[in-house]
Symmetry: C2
Subunit: 149 residues, 2 copies
């Protein structure tokens, strides 16, 4: 009952980069801050670039930066891009057909929770994350050796 590692990593990466969203971050710097295996981080950075969240700059002094205004990127966008199983209409019993119409009491309770998760993801942008920096990120933020473009 968690997001996949890949989803968590995506949130970490973009959540971290949002703190100073105009900086260019190298994979090396991100690796020093985010506790994600280097090779896998690299793979995910390429994916996030292909998915349009990041712009990459190759060559010496290259790196990544966030591609659009922070208030245009919701957590929902990020979560969905990882191929995370949809949170819509999931039955707690795992039945495909249990999601529509009037079902058990459990179904209503579960739908309510699902909706609260979906709403939260859809209504939270990276902008909000920037305003309220996660403590974990800020602790290590001093260590960063970032560069301006």
């Amino acid at each position: 009952m968690n997001f996949s590692k890949t989803t968590e990593y995506s949130l970490r990466i973009l959540g971290f980069m949002a703190i100073e969203d105009h900086k260019l971050y190298s994979a090396e710097v991100l690796n020093q801050n985010l506790d994600i295996p280097f090779r896998y981080l690299r793979k995910q950075l390429t994916r996030l670039t292909n998915d349009g969240f990041l712009i990459s700059y190759r060559g010496k002094a290259g790196g990544y930066k966030i591609s659009k205004p922070l208030n245009e990127i919701t957590l929902w966008d990020i979560v969905n891009a990882t191929g995370e199983d949809s949170l819509y209409h999931e039955c707690i019993f795992g039945f495909d057909s249990c999601a529509f119409g009037n079902k058990c009491a459990l179904h209503h309770k579960w739908a309510k929770i699902q909706n609260s998760i979906n709403d939260m993801l859809k209504n939270t942008t990276l902008e909000e994350l920037k305003r309220t920096k996660p403590e974990r990120f800020t602790i290590q933020h001093n260590l960063m050796l970032t560069k301006n473009v």
Copy 2:
């Protein structure tokens, strides 16, 4: 962002058996009703028995039945028994240490959702499921060939 198959199956099995909780259900009958691969269902039934949710009767005309009053079995008990990752104190970024104290806005939103899930699971017993039979279960319930002990 779902429960594991194993958790879903456990909920299905016990949710179904709760509808007529004094009946003895064979693995065969459960298989006909629950859309769970037979061998895997068998394995899970043995596990649920070892975990104390079911009592098994071996030999001809054997089967399984629920071991205690329905109001003593919460969904929380079932979910936890499958080894489902704890829903307590999970950080949406997947950091172990991000779960305590005052963190980002996201942390508070996430904790609120986690709590609502935990509360729901802890406050819902099989008794409630019995009272409000899932449609999917009742549809097929006529097909059952159950036996009394």
